[in-house]
């Protein structure tokens, strides 16, 4: 992750981290709307936090998204709704932007990510797309950097197996 932080406006922070936060929020959301709710709640909380101007602010931002996501998962009403939506097959929103010439690779990656355990998936998302170091991932998830690295290694092995099997 770049050491330079966005300038002082919330829009600049949102421009820099919006995509990453939304992808990270998808780990707990069952729909794009749920993920947006998580990001909105976490971002507003982050921006109003007196600690946002201190060091490691991006780590706090991801940690707040995770907390908001877990809160949403714990909500009984939302759990029921999620189950209903999953049963209805409504959660088909893309996690990645389609790119020219990738032959649907983004959809394959999304499908492979879904098959990872929650613990492995959140580490991969933070490492690859969040651009955090293992130390920062550990701080965000409240685990040791070694644990983060271990989960990442296992996740990559699982992804490699699954993505390879997609070869025609």
């Amino acid at each position: 992750m770049s050491d330079s932080l966005p300038n002082g406006t919330w829009q600049s922070w949102f421009d820099a981290y919006g995509r990453k936060l939304l992808l990270f929020a998808r780990q707990w959301a069952t729909s794009a709307a749920d993920a947006e709710d998580i990001v909105q709640e976490a971002f507003v909380r982050f921006w109003r936090s007196p600690r946002r101007n201190q060091g490691e602010a991006p780590v706090q931002l991801f940690a707040m998204v995770r907390r908001a996501g877990l809160d949403q998962v714990r909500s009984r009403a939302r759990r029921r709704l999620r189950e209903q939506r999953a049963a209805a097959g409504e959660d088909e929103a893309a996690w990645f932007s389609p790119m020219d010439g990738n032959d649907g690779r983004d959809a394959e990656i999304q499908a492979a990510l879904r098959l990872l355990s929650d613990e492995q998936r959140e580490v991969v998302v933070l490492k690859i797309w969040g651009e955090l170091t293992f130390e920062q991932i550990g701080a965000s998830l409240d685990i040791s950097p070694n644990t983060a690295a271990s989960r990442y290694r296992y996740a990559l092995e699982a992804l490699r197996r699954r993505l390879t099997t997609f070869t025609p």
Partner: protein, 172 residues
């Protein structure tokens, strides 16, 4: 998909994908939330005090009843033949009892306030599970306002209270 056969190329392959951009409605929703009135939330020690106060409110009735008992015990005639406990005290305070001797001292708690007057950082300690934590000692003065029905007026009772909180330290 031969590019995913090794972890290095797998990582670079993953990095080439780009997460979906947030829709404009999300930025609008955040903007609206940030422009809405912000609830006043004290920072640092004061915010902890709020939580402590909320926690302490659970014990207000019990503590006030204890103070009331102490006051009533100073009047032997008032407690003679009366059941003990908060319910009995409140019933005693709100329900006229013709059998009660004139001049019996009856009170009931009507208000409570807690004031934090000192917070002291006592350094880093280790919790039972080995995690480091900062030990902070808070000193309060709790004040109960007791009301004596029948025109006897109100009385304020204050006493000091101390609370120690262990605040876990996140290690990198």
């Amino acid at each position: 998909m031969s590019e995913f056969t090794e972890n290095d190329s797998l990582e670079s392959g993953l990095r080439r994908t780009r997460p979906v951009a947030p829709p404009a409605r999300l930025a609008s929703a955040i903007s609206a939330s940030l422009e809405s009135p912000t609830p006043v939330r004290p920072e640092g020690v004061r915010s902890r005090f709020v939580r402590v106060s909320l926690w302490a409110s659970w014990s207000v009735t019990a503590a006030a009843a204890a103070v009331a008992i102490a006051v009533v015990l100073r009047e032997p005639r008032a407690v003679q033949g009366e059941p003990s406990g908060t319910a009995a005290l409140q019933q005693q305070a709100t329900t006229p009892d013709p059998a009660q001797p004139a001049g019996a001292f009856k009170v009931m708690p009507v208000n409570w306030a807690g004031y934090l007057f000192n917070a002291r950082d006592e350094g880093i300690v280790f919790l039972d599970d080995g995690r480091p934590a900062r030990k902070v000692r808070y000193e309060f003065v709790d004040t109960f306002e007791l009301w004596a029905p029948g025109g006897a007026g109100k009385v304020n009772v204050s006493y000091p209270r101390e609370e120690i909180r262990m605040i876990p330290i996140r290690t990198m």
